[in-house]
Amino acid sequence: MANFTLAIANKNYSSWSLRAWMAMREFDIPFAEEVIPLDVAQTKTKIARHSGAGRLPVLHHGEVRVWESLAILEYLAELFPGKAMWPKSRAARAMARAVANEMHAGFQALRNACPMNLRRPHRPLAAGLSEEVLANVARIERLWKDCRAAYGKGGPFLFGKFTIADAMYAPVVTRFETYVIPVSRASRDYMDALIATQSFRDWKEGAAKEKWIIAADEVA
């Protein structure tokens, strides 16, 4: 099989990049990484080389170029059926895809108010949380609870073992953590399990070494 190269953005800020990267690490899929810092001169030209959409992450595999985190993960799940990147049972898989897609297209209020910023000291958002953000948080906690209740018996993740659904929610976990958003005991346990993964720790270490600052994503 051809080698994989994953083009990603800054580890400190790029929530989309974290998803694909973390899943590939958790499922032991070897790849080369190319980091393209966002918001510096030449970023657009460099991204354009990888992706017509002007977006990261992008996975290169031989002649194939796959973009959008969820499409990348579907592609890999097909290439490595033995790794069970989605849950094995059809019912669980359907639910995993629903929650993953809801993350992919939703929760705008939370994402806008609380940008992923791994270096930010953990403290509540100075402006407080709007009603819309709180509604997003409640919905996310509900989804986690439903997944864990229905399928979480075999481990600490949404569907027991780590799956693509967890990778999709990893950037949400970091936001809850960074902005000290109050959550239930069960949500806290889930967050701790995700934060304790080797892949997440490695990503965070990479983020800590970066020097780039994106002013728009630094909120008080």
Partner: protein
Amino acid sequence: MAEFHLFIGNKCFSSWSLRPWIAMKQLDLPFEETVIRLRQPDTKANIRALARSEKLPCLHHGRRVIWESIAILEYLAELFADAHLWPKDQDARALARSMSAEMHAGFLEFRQQWGMNLRRKKSPKPLEGAARDQAKRIEDYWRRMRASFGGGGPFLFGHFTAADAMYAPVVSRFDTYGGTLSPDTRAYCDAVLATDGMRQWYAGAAAEPWPEPSPDE
């Protein structure tokens, strides 16, 4: 009772609902349909009570409740593997999923400026700013997929796939607001508009008794 039950919003403007609906029609899959009127004080409660969901569209299959248009399409693609709801070729399938995922989460300005409204009179409305680039990118995807994989039929990957379903609301927007389209964009739009699924959806929209959306919204 049909094996499948799809819960959707108003056909005149619920672009999310159109996606799984047209795919199920193109798959020739019998299903029961419930339309839940959007933008009403009790919409949320109705979605919860009837669809047992927070969002539309939502598919019930036995005890399974599946929401999000792409998740529903992936579910159907797995159940009916022989229908090839995703392209057969692995590289083509990767592209189909990438452009579908981008549609699912992106093109926000385009979607806002050209809101799906099947009641609106067809007349050109120029796009501004980012939306214009997004329209160009969409047309570029269509052109490239048609050129690389479209040999076997009039759709993006030849036969009708989930990618066509995901872009069906975009087709209606080009048709409504786009004015004179480039010949290849026009040809692709016409192919989608001519499907049984799309014609039945438009007929359903025309029969809706509710005042919303207004024709010039």
